[in-house]
Amino acid sequence: MSRWFGVGCPPVAGAAAHADHVLLSSVDGLGADFVCTHVDRTGAVARTALAVRLGGSPAGALTPLAGPPDGGRCVRFPGQDALTGTLTAAEIVAASAIDEVVGVGVPVAPDSAVDTLGFLRPTFAGERLVLLVEPAAGGVLRPVEIADPHECCGGH
């Protein structure tokens, strides 16, 4: 049975795509099917925390979690590799662990087209994995989070 664990998070900076690459490298070898970031706000300064879902018993000292972190943002999730190009919302849900495609201010029908832009970071709302999308040029939808948002002033 698969279980969730908290793992140490390496220092990350820069655009999401770059930071995510660093995070994934740090959990290489664990065999996690889900890798999620979330924000730990328990200290005076917020920090990025990392959670993974593993099958079987992990080696080493990992912190068991009750489930996916609420608001957890999935850098890796089952079916992710199948989600490229433009797909319908129904195809996304059928092919991956994503439970629901939700539009910002627009309804999403099963046949609504979503341009994945090759970068999807669905988030957990409770136990449900949700992909938030928004209207894009050409009448399609696109993910709210993109890989390379404009960085001003070296990302200060």
Binding site: V45, G105, C153, H156
Partner: protein, 558 residues
């Protein structure tokens, strides 16, 4: 107010000329105002600043005058002294003039290299521009990395100590410098420029500027938060904290960010990005309350304006509902201009504080900004075209944020004639009326009479009069809604209207304090309630979605 409105009238009008007149800059008057304001703080055990009317101060603010003189400007402009920009100061000033601006602020990014190397280079460039263009006000400022938060414009009028103050301020309080390790020339005092351990430094920084004014080292110093919702890191409690730490310094925020060309389609030579470069999503230092939902995404612009301002009953309204001013503006944030053929120079900014002179490739580049004044204007009602008066106008809230020259002028008059007040107050003002009286609002809009820089004469379709009750200081410092703030009347502008259009509205039997404000648009992109729509990345023509927003008038009931 006309350009002839000058200080000599102090002797003629006892009320305005009293120590309570904030335009009276005599040192003793300044000191007395501040002393009494300080007593107000102690007595009320709450943060009430010198810019705030105390309980016994019922002097109307921003009294209405015919023929208001507006000065168009931009408080957010970069040059080759920013690591991500490229132009000479002279180029930015020349373009600001070409596009009709009366004043502008040079705001290169704060940081170790800027503080060490850029200030000494930009200062003579700015002085040269002032000498060359006597009728354009060129302010020296800084784009401050607010510790714990976003960027902000900080600027001062020219003066003997102005550069020293800016230099010391940046050295001690820039988030980039505070978070840079000592080994790399920084202070190494906070984890990240945007992490929460920076928040106390932001408050100390604003108090430092306030103290420079108090000590007479500068006439005035202003701070405006830039692109406040872009990365979700300006929490409501930080905005309130800045305002309350130094209300005469921290006066507001960009209602509309710059980079308004960033969403122009690739087919039209644009970057096809988010309007305003509003493309981010939540990150480690973001305020959790701003997380995108099925109904809205605070990380996007709406009709070109920042979500905090554009959302009816949103963050801006929640601050105004406290009965305190918080002034919104529109700027260019000009780094690299849409369609321009220049690219940055090759100098190492980190080592020299400058990218060097830009070079002309002869080929159109894919950039997301406009020149200062080309698209965005901050109109300020000021007593004269002087450095200090324009800043006082900003501080008084007599400010209108306009895109694409949608309107040429706006005359707002709010008065309770049954109280015997025939004059009333104007944008940014505060008036005091008897309970139960009628408050009359007259709005006169000067419609655009010439093409804007997109090549068309913009057509104003409607004006919304928005109002909400003043409910007092927010118990929750992270409050971000004002549920009672509503559009009370929408005025349609007749299709063939030319010149001036005039609207009136009467608030009958006023029984509680409230504020009102105006917005207007070309009517092209609206939701069913008449509000602006979220801008679509890569599919937005900024010239066909034009808005203006005017700053509020407060009506106190006594």
């Amino acid at each position: 107010m006309g350009a002839g409105h000058d200080h000599h009238h102090h002797e003629l009008e006892p009320v305005e000329g009293s120590w309570r007149d904030e335009t009276d800059d005599r040192p003793l008057s300044v000191a007395r105002r501040r002393f009494l304001a300080g007593m107000g703080v102690a007595a009320a055990a709450t943060a009430v600043g010198a810019g705030q009317a105390t309980a016994d101060d019922r002097t109307p603010r921003n009294r209405w005058s015919p023929g208001e003189r507006w000065y168009a400007g931009d408080h957010h402009i970069h040059t080759k002294y920013s690591p991500d920009a490229q132009y000479e100061v002279a180029t930015q000033v020349a373009n600001a003039r070409k596009y009709g601006l009366d004043w502008l602020v040079i705001t290169d990014h704060g940081g170790v290299a800027h503080q060490k190397f850029s200030i000494d280079q930009v200062t003579p460039d700015i002085e040269a521009a002032r000498r060359k263009y006597r009728d354009t006000l060129v302010y020296q400022g800084l784009e401050w990395n607010i510790p714990g938060a976003e960027h902000a414009t900080v600027f001062l009028p020219p003066g003997r100590h102005a550069v020293d103050i800016l230099r010391a301020f940046e050295a001690a309080y820039d988030g980039g410098i505070l978070s840079t390790p000592v080994a790399n020339g920084g202070l190494g005092l906070i984890q990240r420029s945007t992490s929460a351990d920076g928040e106390p430094y932001a408050l100390a920084a604003l108090r430092y500027l306030d103290a420079q004014v108090f000590a007479g080292r500068t006439e005035i110093a202003l701070m405006l938060a830039n692109h406040p919702a872009r990365r979700g890191i300006d929490s409501p409690h930080e905005l309130r904290g800045w305002r309350d730490a130094a209300p005469d310094v921290a006066i507001g925020m960009e209602g509309a960010p710059g980079h308004q060309a960033a969403s122009i389609t690739a087919a039209n030579g644009g970057r096809a990005g988010g309007r305003g470069f509003y493309e981010a999503s939540p990150s480690v230092d973001s305020f959790p309350g701003y997380a995108p939902t099925a109904t809205e995404n605070p990380y996007r612009s709406y009709g070109g304006f920042d979500w905090m301002t554009a959302k009816l009953g949103g963050v801006w309204d929640s601050m105004l509902a406290e009965g305190r001013p918080w002034t919104i503006t529109a700027t260019s944030d000009s780094h690299q201009v849409f369609g321009d053929t220049f690219v940055p120079g090759t100098q190492d900014h980190n080592a020299t504080g400058s990218r060097g002179a830009p070079t002309d490739t002869g080929v159109r580049q894919v950039y997301g900004d406009f020149w200062p004044g080309q698209y965005s204007s901050t109109l300020v009602g000021a007593a004269s075209r002087s450095y200090v008066d324009v800043m006082r106008g900003l501080r008084s809230g007599r400010v209108v944020a306009v895109h694409g020259r949608l309107i040429d002028g706006l005359d707002l008059r709010v008065r309770a004639r049954s109280d015997g007040d025939t004059r009333g107050v104007s944008i940014g003002g505060r008036t005091f009326v008897r309970r139960g009286t009628d408050v009359e609002v007259t709005i006169e809009v000067t419609l655009a009479g010439r093409p804007n820089f997109g090549g068309a004469v913009p057509k104003l379709a409607k004006v919304d009069l928005i109002a909400g009750p003043v409910t007092g200081p927010a118990a929750d410092r992270d409050a971000m809604t004002a549920p009672e703030t509503k559009v009370v009347e929408t005025f349609a502008v007749p299709g063939g209207a030319r010149g001036k259009v005039r609207f009136t509205h009467v608030f009958r039997g006023v029984d509680r304090a409230f504020y009102l404000r105006l917005r207007g648009c070309d009517g092209n992109r609206l939701d069913s309630a008449g509000n602006p729509l979220m801008d679509i990345m890569g599919d937005d023509d900024p010239w066909t979605d034009l808005w203006f927003y005017a700053n509020p008038v407060f009506v106190d009931v006594v």
